[in-house]
Symmetry: C2
Subunit: 537 residues, 2 copies
Amino acid sequence: MGDIHKASLLATLVAACFGAQAADVDANTINRIADEGYNRGQVVSLAAHLSDRIGGRMTNSPAMRQAEKWTQQMFSTWGLQNVHLEGYDFGRGWWIESASVRMTAPRPLALSAIPVAWTPPTKGTVSAPIAVAPIRHVRDLAQYKGKLRGKIVLVSYPDAPKDDTAATFKRFDEAELGKLSTYDQPHYDPDGSFDMYKKYFEQAREIDRFMAAEGALALVKMSYRGGGLVQGEGYFHRKGETVSLPEIEMAAEDYRRLARLAKVGEVELEMNNNVHFDDRDMNAYNVLAEIPGSDPQAGYVMAGAHLDSWVAGDGAADNGAGSVVVMEAARILAQLGVKPKRTIRFALWSGEEQGLLGSLAYIQKHIATRPRPSDAAHAKLPEFMWETYPITPLPGYNEMAAYFNLDNGSGKIRGIYAEGNFAAMPVLRSWLAPFSSLGADKVVAKKTGGTDHEIMAGMGLPAFQFIQDPLDYGSRVHHSNLDTFDHLRTEDLRQAAVIMATVLLQAAESDTPMPRNVLPKQPTPTDPFLYRDPAKD
Amino acid sequence: MGDIHKASLLATLVAACFGAQAADVDANTINRIADEGYNRGQVVSLAAHLSDRIGGRMTNSPAMRQAEKWTQQMFSTWGLQNVHLEGYDFGRGWWIESASVRMTAPRPLALSAIPVAWTPPTKGTVSAPIAVAPIRHVRDLAQYKGKLRGKIVLVSYPDAPKDDTAATFKRFDEAELGKLSTYDQPHYDPDGSFDMYKKYFEQAREIDRFMAAEGALALVKMSYRGGGLVQGEGYFHRKGETVSLPEIEMAAEDYRRLARLAKVGEVELEMNNNVHFDDRDMNAYNVLAEIPGSDPQAGYVMAGAHLDSWVAGDGAADNGAGSVVVMEAARILAQLGVKPKRTIRFALWSGEEQGLLGSLAYIQKHIATRPRPSDAAHAKLPEFMWETYPITPLPGYNEMAAYFNLDNGSGKIRGIYAEGNFAAMPVLRSWLAPFSSLGADKVVAKKTGGTDHEIMAGMGLPAFQFIQDPLDYGSRVHHSNLDTFDHLRTEDLRQAAVIMATVLLQAAESDTPMPRNVLPKQPTPTDPFLYRDPAKD
């Protein structure tokens, strides 16, 4: 066989392996992307600025406002087009200037804790004895009537510490990646998550009302995990929803120590939550930027990550990592001067941590809407939980040709969750083929939730989330005070940026449009014979 | 075969398995020990009082004084005899009243750090810009000349964070226990550890002198591990040795953030070390108590654990756990009213963390002495490192029939390190045989170091350390702010107390004395052809 024949056969084999779409982007362009990302990459500096310099970015906080300005400025500097904010009604700004809590009796001891988001400040320093009043249900409140006046109240149940037998930091091996191939069939349970949320929101409000009426001074909750980690999540960000009492979430070790000491004597705390509300602008904002497409009829492809974080830590892995990878992908493509057929749009969402609110606002403005639940109780739920039908597509529904989300920490990309879009899997595989030796070629049908592609995928859009190595994201970093730059892996961020840029360009150039899913219709309950056991709640 | 014959054969077999000593203690007594320890045990309450109520107990600190009083009081309450303190020259008392460090520029942020033990206080709150001046060797100092005046100086090298791929919490499985059976042959290297210690002590002093002369305001060191852990170990406890500048040890995540920010701009800290020296009593004290033996010629057996802890955390696992197990073993045996042949002596050591100083003082008073090193530099080393000969036994040398140490956290007992006393292994196995189903029957020849049996074993005494499950002791608890009650496992403490009490009673009652090792003589260097590479230091 002559060399020419061999080359021709090779080309045929490559095309067969990569699928037709592999030819859409010049192979040289893929290498130019890798060259720019690996040899002149800026993703590490971007990550350091966002997490070290700006720090934690709770939606509508001063730091988030700073991040909104800085990210727009970067996009503009790199030559992105149509850089702008899209606002939507969110609620109050809130931030921690400083906070401290100390045990003063039976011995002096500094304790690790964080104010719970959107709870009010203490009136200066509060010094008071504690009462341990663990509450699992509203019905548990009555027993504490008349016992809490002037007390700082510990409201979590101090359960036994757990044995952390799993590795703190890990990467997927082939066996674990293989497990992602088990497709979970769709499950429709109209009351399932409703019960949980109703419990959280209504119970939290009920506890606050009771405690305030009883004359308690502040509430202390226990961190849900040990190792000194604190999170401080809180959900009452709407004006008029703010709770009455200051709250802190305390490291489990410190909380349990207080609870044990209270069994044998009096315990006193000194606590100061120097936190502030800022109601000057109740809108939250998504940051958007584009590389315009050459064909106005071809629609757009999109990359998204949420820029907002929780209140503890610097929001480095959740989701500074995803944000800077999206930014770096934009920078690389702009730097290369690509002129794709479809527009490539970049989104840095806000309000993700409070219920995917930023991407939801985008969807409601540009993509599709769902009806308000007819049931008054259901209508009070966070909107991302509305499972109502029919879904009404807006004119922009078909313009979004593909959406890629990155929000699982800083672990390198191992593949893509196709989110039940079976027809898209061969296409996605072909786009990832150049990165198989980077470990990034796994495409699975599995659906993932809890971040900004979820609502889009649930509306039938070709919206995907990347599979990423877990690192120590779930074990200790997620939402905690350890969400700092140290827990990023910079080589992983570079890999993710190169892949993100390449996949976006392939999606933007592809001759055959990305297969779309069906427009979802009202499902039947998966477990129509289910009885709920109230004892289990 | 008749029943009588079967019983007789069984007894013969049991005796063969357990060795002759198994008969020394009435089997009923072992069950009474287990009954008292498991069904009316107090070890959990003891652990809570020591760690929660008294807290961290650095030698000669006010909390350690409180612990010395409380433990004597407990021993006396339980009816132990000859309860007393044995003092020895140690140095200064030191304690933290409060401490804080905040970044004030480029953004406000509370940081996790702890004052380094025995460093002086700041003069109130110090506010200053930082300088990053990593120092590995004294020769690194010169480059910073003239650059540090008025600065808070970061002196550790901020190396890359590590991937914590090991499980945080673990128990030994059979394979891991099996690995303990590999006996490490004795290794005599007259200069090895000398180099390391000389480096620490001389270099630390040199750095302090340089920094003070340059007008630096305070030093910041980086925690040697991530995850927000801080330790704060420091060694200059002798009067006249105190360093000039205040020092803190900072969580690695926070330290590295400062170091990164300093690469791109000015960073300012606000720091307050409100720490105190207390020179009223420069003696440290061991707590001793006894159950007297019936035969004054038979000597004594001893259990020991160090009561002192480091400055971070509550000293729960290191070594509150060992201390309360020793106390509980004493309580159980006293409660049972045992009248052993040999005296059972209980020791709660101090100064362990500064170089096994408490047990060393006991040895020098009661057991044996080593000559002062002839070389002036070697003579400056901590005394537990003196490898000088001949060892001179004191009259009490032969009185100590056995010593059992417990100092590897709160993990349950898995067996005993025979510390190179091969002849003792069958005896130890027979004593542990009743506890095989508790997983506690492994006896290995291996030597372990770093705690109070080490010097005794090195002098040929029958001194042993228990093998314990590791739990999360090494991964995050050892010497850190997480050394709290939550990281103890109460079921493990109960098991250890029952076994400790039983083994002590067996050793005290045994008809055949515990095999003793030879009195060590000057060894020859194991690696006489070794060249030291100074580039590696």
